[in-house]
């Protein structure tokens, strides 16, 4: 009986030992992972902080106005409103109308 109790207690001891070491190891890994992640988050947060600052600086009215002044307007020729078509159908309709008008005009010239 004494022996069986001894065996039992050793078994329990071992089970607990293994359990504890597993839990401890898991905790350590978890902690390590959290640490790594928090480090990454901190770096990202810092980057975001700096980027936000750059964004607000670059989009401040003073800088935007300077950028506009530096743009070469010749590169951007204005487009006539009549030449802007919303879709192909829109284009075809206007094109047809123009052809009809053109034909009518030509006919009028011939008749005269």
């Amino acid at each position: 009986m004494f022996r069986s109790k001894k065996t039992m207690s050793v078994t329990i001891f071992l089970i607990f030992l293994i359990t504890i070491s597993i839990i401890k190891n898991k905790t350590r890994l978890l902690e390590k992972e959290i640490y790594e992640l928090s480090k990454k988050i901190a770096i990202k947060e810092k980057e975001l902080n700096d980027i936000e600052l750059d964004f607000y600086y670059l989009t401040s009215p003073v800088i935007i106005e300077k950028k506009i002044e530096n743009l070469n307007y010749n590169n951007y020729s204005p487009m006539e409103y009549s030449k802007i078509f919303l879709d192909i159908e829109n284009f075809m309709n206007i094109h047809n109308k123009l052809t009809i008008l053109k034909n009518q005009y030509e006919k009028e010239i011939k008749n005269n």
């Binding site: 004494f2 109790k5 001894k6 207690s9 329990i12 001891f13 607990f16 359990t19 504890i20 839990i23 401890k24 905790t27 978890l30 902690e31 959290i34 640490y35 992640l37 928090s38 480090k39 988050i41 901190a42 770096i43 947060e45 810092k46 902080n49 700096d50 936000e52 600052l53 607000y56 600086y57 401040s60 009215p61 003073v62």
Partner: protein, 569 residues
């Protein structure tokens, strides 16, 4: 039988008592041994239980605690703000803390000082080498440069000197440079606010619980930029020495823009001599006070806007002072015409009807002679004022009395918002609900109508501010500095849209000159300016500002949209 067996059993044992003792002892020993064994098991169980409990608690602690707890070791990668951000009413960043470095030198660790100086000269030509040399020779620790950026740090790092020490610090950055210089203020190297909002809200800005929540202002960066630009342009055109502008919501007291020129770049730490002309500057603001005189008279039912003041003299002697008008006016003028044409003597006669007691009450009610209440450290103290002989007469048209432009603008807001005296406010959602009434709603309506006529009437002094679609009203004021008579101050306080006033805009120019080359669009005519009056400079600037900020202020603003749409259609 029982007896027999007992005797047989008894004959085998030496002593009954001894036998019993031995057996009991044996049993006790075994029981004791078992107890010890059980105790050990319990102890073991208890130890394991404790260990499991410790780790369980740790897991719970890890999962429930904030990330920062586990990041304390790596200070270089962690960035915990020391001050809160400051943003404008649209959430646009105005001020933020960033990671920076101070560079210090420990001369004892520098082996070749000449070589070090040469390297510094090559990499940082802007630094004074002579001064650095002196400090190096003293052999005492000193700062080489403060608030350096990453590229400068890398340059210094590349020098490979042991004596160069980098200190991690947090520097305050202002994304808009000098745009908000007189409002935001600055912080010192230790992140303590030394001026402006940074000083006023120093405690709130450092509140650790609210570090991630920015302080939201009522200011609008875009409107501020436009006003700042237009005012700078005005200073150039009219060769003015300084200027100021203030845009305020008449119902809430929210300050949307506050500009004071000259200003400075708050990212640089320099000794600054400029003051905030709107909150700290104390001036005699001249004819803008005439509106107050007329408002008091109307409020006490002493006159109506149409009441005629008869036999207005050209000149009038009051004590030793001779009071006159710059222009010649008809001898009979209605009260509203007195304000429209800005007659000094007409206003004086109205003030005499009011009397000193009522006028004094108005000045006390409006706190005109006290420091303005605003969330800034830089506030002016009006010069001591005594109700001497002839004071009522001079005060009626804004002479002999000093105050800050901020207070006058606040009173104008009250005159057109239905009579409620609002408190100027720089913090979003911080309005007080209990307003003091200084005039009745009827008087407020009458004053608004007269102010509109100052702009639209042919004889009005502010025609250049009649911006299409915004129904601008206002009053001009041309005055001299109480300290220096050669110092002119031209002011225009406008309110718009007058059908339901929403904003008041004050524009102030110091020592403007006649802009001879400027062509004005005066009631559809192209004319050149010849007079150095507020109507020809401050009003012109206000018109330009309203024209540009109008569309921004009109966003999501029904009354504006409808009004503009009505005009367009």
């Amino acid at each position: 039988m029982r007896k027999k067996s007992k005797t047989i059993k008894d004959s085998n044992q030496s002593s009954f008592y001894f036998e019993d003792y031995l057996e009991t002892n044996k049993k006790n020993k075994f029981a004791k041994k078992t107890n010890i064994f059980l105790d050990r098991i319990y102890l073991l169980f208890f130890s394991f239980f404790c260990l499991i409990l410790i780790f369980s608690i740790k897991i719970i602690y890890i999962s429930s605690n904030e990330i920062e707890t586990f990041n304390q070791e790596n200070e270089s990668s962690k960035f915990v703000l020391l001050r809160r951000d400051i943003v404008d009413r649209n959430g646009i960043l105005i001020s933020r803390n960033v990671k920076s470095f101070d560079v210090a030198i420990n001369p004892k660790l520098i082996k070749d000082k000449n070589n070090f100086l040469l390297k510094i000269r090559l990499n940082f030509p802007s630094l004074s080498i002579n001064e650095i040399e002196k400090k190096l020779n003293k052999n005492q620790w000193f700062y080489l440069k403060r608030r350096i950026d990453q590229s400068e740090r890398e340059k210094l790092w590349a020098l490979g000197e042991k004596g160069i020490i980098f200190e991690h610090i947090q520097a305050r950055m202002y994304t808009h440079g000098n745009l908000f210089s007189h409002i935001i203020g600055q912080v010192d190297y230790d992140n303590y606010g030394v001026s402006g909002l940074e000083k006023y809200f120093d405690k709130e800005l450092k509140d650790k619980k609210l570090l991630k929540k920015p302080i939201k202002l009522t200011l609008d960066s875009n409107v501020q930029y436009i006003i700042n630009k237009e005012l700078n342009e005005a200073l150039r055109i009219f060769k003015a020495t300084g200027g100021g502008a203030l845009l305020m919501d008449v119902k809430t007291g929210d300050i949307i823009s506050l500009v004071s020129l000259p200003n400075f770049n708050i990212n640089k730490r320099e000794e600054i001599k400029y003051i905030n002309k709107i909150t700290k500057g104390v001036y005699e603001l001249g004819s803008v006070f005439k509106t107050f005189t007329v408002a008091i008279a109307l409020d006490y039912n002493l006159v109506t806007p149409q009441s005629e003041i008869k036999d207005i003299p050209r000149k009038l002697k009051c004590s030793s002072h001779e009071i006159s008008d710059i222009k010649e006016f008809p001898t009979n003028l209605s009260v509203e015409n007195i304000l429209i044409r800005s007659s000094n003597i007409g206003t004086l006669l109205v003030a005499r009807k009011i009397g000193e007691k009522k006028f004094k009450k108005f000045i006390d009610d409006t706190n005109l002679l006290k420091s303005p209440e605003i969330q800034l450290e830089e506030v002016g103290n009006p010069i001591n004022f005594n109700w001497n002989k002839c004071k009522l007469e001079t005060v009626s048209f804004g002479h002999g009395i000093t105050t800050t432009p901020l207070q006058v603008a606040s009173i104008y807001a009250a005159l057109v918002n239905g009579g409620k005296l609002i408190k100027p406010n720089l913090i979003k959602n911080n309005q007080t609900k209990n307003y003091k009434r200084i005039i009745s709603e009827k008087t407020s309506q009458n004053i608004t109508n007269i102010l509109r006529k100052v702009v639209t009437d042919k004889k009005g002094t502010a025609s250049l501010a009649d911006v299409h679609g915004y129904n601008v009203g206002g009053k001009t004021g041309t005055s001299q500095n109480y300290k220096d008579k050669n110092d002119n101050l031209n002011t225009f306080i406008s309110v718009f849209p007058t059908q339901e006033p929403k904003y008041t805009l004050l524009v102030m120019l110091q020592n403007p000159q006649v802009a001879k080359n400027l062509i004005y669009n005066y009631r559809g005519l192209k004319v050149k300016g010849t007079r150095n009056e507020a109507g020809w400079n401050s009003v012109y600037v206000a018109g330009k500002i309203i024209e540009k900020i109008g569309p921004i202020l009109a966003i999501n603003n029904e009354e504006f949209t409808n009004h503009v749409a009505e005009k367009i259609n």
